[in-house]
Symmetry: C3
Subunit: 320 residues, 3 copies
């Protein structure tokens, strides 16, 4: 059975997960994004590619930051954007998820950007619109549970390619709460697909899921060993609710072992770049001197993220 | 005294209620809507009719679904839409409803789409703008208390005309919680105005208001008798708070007697259509097999609803 | 050290406070606003000056009314507006204010409209973007704590100039809760800069801050004496939380002494105008007969406010 995000001819119809995307398709998205980067620095930051299209931000869990990036991307493509915070509306009235989708499809929606606390919800929506009348409707996963956050993965790849060019000669470390991170999963899939020979995962055992080796990673619990000679460091966000739970003694203890300090950063290659998906917990997973230092490319990630989302949206619409 | 929704020359200035609209005026709205249906399937779903107009969605009670339909309609007419959730703003600061309206009129608003828990609030607003300086401002009632929901009524008429053409040979049944339904009131007014000879209202006595006969309806408490040979079935939503109150024994009991099942549907004409204003309570007022079955036109109602709202907005602005 | 709101050449780069703006600069803003007044009465209320610009409404405290005025102003300049209610997003996730700003700057924001409960927050943001990469980003203070509300101050000056022309021959009274009012502070700075020879401040001692004389004001606790022969009366809003606190006996008592009634208004010049920043507490700081009477210019203030905000936005962008 073909993956619901690909059309019969292999074109990207929805973006649900990086898992299963070919190396060529990922590079095609990144190449397209490079073209959009310039739109964002123009005097008039707008191209008419999605003019008259209706993009719905369907946020079943609140994330102003992610919603904003998609709203900006869609607006700069000239789309009409409608924000729906679904907690407070039909869901509360007992309407089923798929009835809500059917309704919006009947309004001639063109694109759903879906954020949901449950893994698989965007997948369910995409399968449903494929199966029913939603022929021309495209679904973008903007984060589902612990499962995937593919546009974040793609912008991370854009950032690495921008600064390091050749994926096949890199050592990349992903550090922190991998267990609860949809970003980590998306990044690992992308990195291995793009040919990164060494993907290291660093964190306390309580925050590392099983199966990392099968995904092609090397596992480290000692950050100093794990950072040795890496080219790229991807720090993960430690969510507040983890800081005082059964899995971790305290935020201070976490910082001592897994916070990225200048001292630990010195173990990586001198030209290593430091990434973070944001929002950062300064003093928990990363020291301010590093976050604001010359090796950090965290704000470049944000800039590239707009271009990557514009690229994904325009490719999806072009595939129709 | 003329109705505040009509100008001296009989043009529609506001849309507050279907009550009092002439047959010709209703058909004019439906004819205009037919023209807009095509806009929604174009590649660029936009016409410039309301370009540079300021449409305010004034929602004094939350309804993401209804707000979305008006936002989409206004956007496809190229209007600028501002969403105001009034619970959390000036109302909380003690500003009176009419002071809020005066302020927005002073910003040169062109249109207010008003949703309010109190019957008559949109009427009050329309009278106020007629009386004061709000010359060119138009008010659309997007649902007020138990009173009216005229755009829902109009889209229901559009749907019936689309599938059945001639109103004057129809038997229409409205089923469920008529007592609390603004949709039912709007539909009854529209159906009788358009010449439907037989409007049946079906429900438990506790959910039927008095005065239905005077409105031209036949009342049934036995759904099987009521559905006999009808052409159109309009199911109403049973609100959650009714399901366990003094008026009803339980949702299960309700479904048994008034839920639309395939079995009960078989009593209607073979080509009867099934309508529902949404959101549906599957298994309460309607069985999934019917909701998703070949006679259901529930999603067509949604599609027509966008075109009807575009029609109303464009006619109001043209009347200025 | 130059003020962060002015460029090296003295152009307005941000609008943070009226304090320190020259008379010429204020008149330039008001002259520009006059040009925009006509846009708001056109059939198509739109000019393309900010087309393709990204304006972010950063509201760290809720104010639908103020947010709406800026959204309308930006939209009529053809900007793309993104509304961010920051309480519920990154701030809750523990991201620092300046990290949020850096992120939005990295998305190539053009303008931040900032509302914040803390005095100085917009100033902090403007200094930060001046210092870092946010070269082309402009900050507008939409109200910070008790400190300033410069666009309200400017629209008040526009209103006074419109009705009274010459500032240098006026007696202006500001009445009410000056202690907690950012509007009063902005107005006093503007009035003295524009050459108003007599600025009176009227209120109970508990609601008057110290230092008013040094700002060039005359202080009155007796409203009847204070209103004698004034040309302009600016009423301030009494916030609900003050009405039953340590500073005031009751709303009724306040109205008796400091509420503007027709009787008290008669003490001012016959052609005196009555202003109020809204939302009004009718029967607390102002009588309805006055609020709706021929001397009130409260709704004109709202109309001028849109034009003034359009003027400020267009001047900031032109200064880049």
């Amino acid at each position: 059975m073909p993956h619901p995000q690909l059309s019969a001819s292999g074109e990207l119809k929805h973006l649900l997960t990086i898992e299963g995307l070919s190396k060529a398709l990922i590079h095609n998205i990144l190449d397209t994004a490079r073209g959009f980067l310039g739109v964002n620095t123009r005097d008039v930051k707008k191209v008419p590619l999605l003019r008259g299209k209706s993009v719905f931000n369907l946020f079943f869990e609140n994330s102003t930051r992610t919603r904003t990036t998609f709203e900006i991307a869609a607006t700069r493509l000239s789309a009409d954007v409608v924000n729906l915070n679904i907690n407070t509306s039909s869901a509360a009235k007992g309407e089923s998820l798929l009835d809500t989708i059917d309704n919006l499809v009947a309004m001639h929606a063109d694109m759903f950007v879906v954020r949901h606390a449950s893994s698989g919800a965007p997948f369910l929506i995409a399968e449903h619109v494929n199966r029913t009348r939603g022929e021309g409707v495209h679904v973008i996963n903007a984060g589902d549970g612990r499962h995937a956050h593919p546009t974040q993965g793609l912008l991370d790849m854009y950032t690495i390619r921008h600064f390091k060019q050749d994926f096949t000669r890199l050592r990349v470390a992903i550090v922190g709460d991998v267990l609860h991170s949809r970003v980590a999963r998306s990044d690992i899939h992308a990195l291995t697909t793009l040919g990164v020979p060494e993907v290291r995962v660093i964190g306390p055992l309580t925050l590392l899921p099983s199966g990392l080796e099968q995904m092609g990673c090397q596992v480290y619990t000692d950050m100093k060993k794990g950072l040795k000679d890496v080219d790229v460091i991807i720090m993960l966000r430690l969510q507040n609710e983890r800081m005082r739970g059964a899995l971790l003694p305290s935020a201070q203890e976490y910082f001592k072992h897994y916070g990225l300090t200048q001292e630990k950063l010195a173990l990586a290659k001198p030209d290593a770049i430091v990434m973070h998906p944001g929002p950062m917990n300064r003093g928990v997973e990363i020291e301010s001197a590093v976050a604001d230092g010359p090796q950090a490319v965290i704000l470049e990630q944000v800039t590239f993220g707009i271009a990557v989302r514009m690229a994904v949206m325009s490719l999806l619409v072009a595939s129709a």
